[in-house]
């Protein structure tokens, strides 16, 4: 008994703990300028979202139609929109909305995808076959079409847009998780754990999950940017977030496009915001991968 326990302890000492991963990330950020830049950007976005109430000088919903379509000025650094609302305040609050949409959509998509992927990868056999085919079936439908259809079925709203986007994400995620689970299962310590009779949940949680979270987080960070863009396109089609919500996507696709020549600032600032957010998330995803990808670490 004692020897077996001792031996499993050895295997379990694999460097897959959180502490060393965080350290790896920190090192990467410090070493690579783009990593640092993107991390800063994300921090700025998150802080803006949290402290929107304090940062925004005006109520984003307060319309003053007399000063509509005013160009940027000291009182209104980003100008005013088609009914005289302060664009700067709306962009700040938009940060909260867009991040919220992104996080929820990607969060749901990731978690559900992960669960399905785990089930598939771990159980294999018939469960795997059936679930994978279902995922393929969903994935074969073009993303925009699927999202549009789902939002049309549920009434158009911010929440439903998130659900629709999540549905688009799930199949891809489940496949990635499944792949990671399958390769993790090859590890000897998993076999050993199974041999000594560890219960399944413990195996999954302690041995498989850590190996899976890395690729998932990388993909999730990239999907965050995409989610914001899909929401913008849904708004373009008229079925995204509802007015008067200050979401970047809605601002860009409706008033931004309609007044593109007369008031380019209406599109410029939300557009910049979206670009920066997507840029930040994508570069951060690259950084995560640079930090955690075992193959790159060897170099």
């Amino acid at each position: 008994m004692a020897t077996v326990t001792a031996r499993t302890a050895d295997f379990e000492a694999e460097p897959t703990t959180d502490i060393s991963r965080t350290r790896a990330l920190w090192t990467t950020i410090r070493r690579k300028p783009l990593g640092a830049a993107s991390a800063t950007l994300i921090a700025v976005l998150v802080l803006t979202a949290i402290f929107a109430d304090v940062l925004a000088p005006y109520d984003p919903l307060a319309a003053q139609p007399e000063i509509r379509l005013a160009p940027p000025s000291w009182e209104h650094p980003f100008g005013t929109d088609d009914i005289g609302r302060d664009v700067f305040s709306r962009v700040i609050y938009g940060c909260r909305i867009s991040l919220w949409v992104g996080l929820l959509a990607v969060g749901i998509g990731t978690i559900v995808g992960m669960i399905i992927g785990l089930l598939c990868g771990y159980c294999e056999g018939r469960t795997d076959l059936v679930l994978q085919r279902v995922m393929d079936g969903i994935q074969a439908i073009p993303g925009l079409v699927l999202a549009l259809a789902i939002v049309s079925v549920l009434r158009p709203s911010t929440t439903n847009a998130m659900i629709a986007i999540a549905m688009v994400i799930i199949p891809g995620n489940s496949r990635i998780v499944r792949g990671a689970v399958l390769s993790a299962k090859q590890n000897r310590y998993v076999e050993a754990a199974q041999a000594i009779g560890c219960r399944h949940p413990r195996i999954i949680l302690s041995h498989i999950l850590p190996n899976v979270t890395a690729p998932i987080l990388v993909i999730a960070s990239i999907w965050l940017g995409n989610a914001i863009l899909i929401e913008a396109t849904l708004s373009f089609l008229g079925v995204g977030t509802q007015p008067p919500t200050p979401s970047w996507g809605l601002m860009l696709s409706s008033t931004g496009r309609a007044f593109m020549e007369q008031a380019p600032w209406l599109a410029l600032f939300p557009g910049l915001a979206i670009s920066l957010a997507v840029l930040g998330f994508n570069l951060f995803g690259d950084t995560l991968r640079d930090a955690w990808d075992p193959k790159l670490r060897r170099g």
Binding site: L61, A62, A63, P65, E66, R68, L69, D82, I83, G84, S152, R155, P156, S157, F236, L237, G238, V239, Q242, P243, P244, S254, T255, R257, A258, F259, M260, E261, Q262
Partner: protein, 564 residues
């Protein structure tokens, strides 16, 4: 900005165009001459653009190609199946009607509503307005295409066509008042109506009554594949979602016309693209919503001709579920109406170039465009009184309600949000907005079972008085989407149909309108007038006399010529 920014749906769904192609300035030449201050409702900056572009005095040149980038694509070319402006933007050029409204080069200003004969030379009715006799023009030929091969147009064609319309399809409503049709000879059509209707000729002059042929319908089984008529142009090409090409009909009965060889309509769903097409001379006519848009175009196209366009009515308003609480209480309706600052909307969202809003074209009961003050107490912005009235009605703390709409054009979203803010600030009414796609919106709206509020419209292509009163307001009419149910209105609108005397018609109409405003049966909202913009070489294309050149008024293009 452009009206047709319906994004993906612009091609079919621009109901706004659908509804507002009736352009009309109430000012007309008289007001300009008299200088009597343009009795406009909104505090409008005097528009630098004329209300009317008179017909050119130069002799017309034949030839050339007129092109237009259009937001509409015809869903079908069968006039029995649709009233879509996508079809009628050219159906009136391929086919003809018995009667039409006057063309711009036949009148001296846009304020003239006279009816002219198209295929009918003259018409008259019995004294009770129940039997109408039309004398047809002789020698009119169908297009020289199989299976008609240029045969003569006769009375039997009218009978066939009207009966087919009445039997089934989208136009059946219009023709259902017909009891029977006789054709005593080749050029005479006698129509018997079920009930008297002095306004019947106006119904006949509507663009949707284009005449089609028996041969095509019988051979093809439907009118979806071929469109053959008696009009100034033949349908040369129809490629769905791409273009419609019309070519001059060499046998047209109006010798010498049309002037332009070909009229090409390019399907262009995106508004920015249509604007770009006009700028690069790929499109000859464009409609723009606001003065600032016009300025933008003139920066690159300084020589474009601009006509300031005025509407005689607004097609949109706040529709309330007035058959149930809380909106069945007239005090609530009045309070809501007084809490909305319409003037501000017209001044800001429509840059001063809009009308405050009313449903029945004012030309039918008055000469000058009504001022805000003339619309009655409930149309004035009086938030304090509104709050008192609402409290009286039992809602001192406001209430929650919903408003659904479809964004026909961006300004509508601006308006909806302003209304939401007004109601919240002034009455503590929380309006939850839902912006829907077209199909969902339309289905829910016309089902008439919705609760709360909607940004409603009065539908239809028609500008006839009957349509705008009886059809939209009578409690038993199927087009009564605002759910008006008022016995006084029922009585007055029925009476109107039986009033042949013009002066008396005006009196009755005014009573209807007064009642509508007093009871706030339909809460009309500001609407803009817009501008027609033409390339400098286009002549005789002015929008006026109830029809806009690019939409339902397309038959006017037979008078257009290109000075190149």
């Amino acid at each position: 900005m452009h009206i047709d920014r319906l994004g993906p749906l612009a091609s079919r769904l621009n109901r706004r165009q659908f509804l507002t192609r009736a352009g009309w300035t109430g000012l007309g030449a008289t007001a300009l001459v008299a200088g009597s201050g343009r009795a406009r409702v909104a505090a409008q900056t005097a528009s630098p653009y004329p209300d009317w572009i008179p017909a050119s005095t130069k002799p017309p040149k034949r030839g050339g190609v007129l092109t237009r980038a259009s937001s509409w694509d015809p869903p079908v070319i069968d006039p029995r199946l649709t009233q879509s402006v996508g079809l009628y933007q050219f159906a009136g050029l391929v086919g003809s009607r018995l009667i039409r409204y006057a063309f711009p080069d036949e009148v001296s200003g846009p304020a003239e509503l006279s009816l002219k004969g198209d295929l009918a030379e003259s018409w008259q009715s019995t004294s009770d307005a129940r039997v109408w006799t039309f004398k047809l023009r002789q020698g009119v030929k169908w297009h020289n295409l199989p299976p008609l091969n240029g045969r003569e147009f006769v009375a039997a064609d009218v009978k066939y066509c009207f009966e087919a319309y009445a039997k089934e399809g989208a136009q059946s409503f219009t023709f259902q008042e017909i009891e029977g049709i006789e054709t005593p000879d080749k050029y005479t059509v006698r129509i018997h109506l079920k009930t008297p209707n002095v306004l019947f000729p106006q119904n006949v002059a509507e663009p949707i009554t284009v005449l089609f042929s028996r041969e095509v319908l019988e051979e093809d089984g439907d009118l979806k594949k071929r469109m053959i008529g008696t009009g100034p142009y033949t349908l040369k090409e129809h490629t769905r979602k791409v273009r419609v090409v019309l070519a001059r009909n060499p046998d047209y009965f109006d010798k010498g016309r049309p002037y332009v060889d070909e009229y090409i309509i390019l399907s262009t769903p995106d508004a920015a693209t249509r604007m770009a097409a006009f700028r690069t001379a790929q499109s000859d006519i464009i409609w723009l919503a606001s003065p600032s848009e016009v300025e933008t175009v003139r920066k690159t196209n300084a020589n474009a001709a601009v006509q300031s366009y005025h509407n005689t009515l607004t097609p949109f308003g706040v529709a309330l579920a007035q058959d149930r609480p809380p909106f069945n209480d007239v005090r609530v309706r009045r309070a809501v109406s007084m809490a909305i600052d319409r003037q501000k909307q017209a001044d800001t969202v429509f840059e001063g170039h809009g009308i405050i809003g009313w449903g029945v074209p004012y030309i039918y009961y008055t000469d000058k465009q009504p001022t805000l003050a003339q619309l009655g107490p409930w149309w004035q912005y009086r938030p304090a009184e509104a709050k008192k009235l609402l409290a009286e009605a039992g809602h001192p703390n406001g209430f929650e309600t919903t408003l659904f709409y479809y964004e026909y054009f961006p300004q509508m979203t601006s308006q909806v949000q302003l209304v939401q803010q007004d109601l919240k600030r002034n009455l503590n009414i929380n309006v939850k907005i839902t912006k829907l796609d077209y199909t969902t919106y339309y289905g829910r709206y016309v089902e008439s079972k919705w609760d709360g509020m909607s940004w409603g419209f009065q539908s239809g292509h028609a500008i006839g008085l009957d349509e705008r009163t009886y059809q939209y307001m009578h409690s038993r009419s199927t087009k009564n989407f605002f759910r008006v149910n008022d016995p006084v209105i029922d009585e007055l609108t029925t009476k109107l149909r039986q009033t042949p005397d013009r002066a008396e018609q005006r009196v009755v109409t005014k009573k209807i309108v007064d009642r509508e405003f007093d009871q706030v049966l339909r809460m009309w909202m500001p609407y803009d007038n817009g501008f027609m913009v033409f390339q400098p070489h286009v002549r005789n294309a002015a929008a006026g006399a109830l029809r806009r050149t690019d939409g339902y008024g397309s038959s006017t293009i037979s008078r257009v010529w290109l000075d190149k």
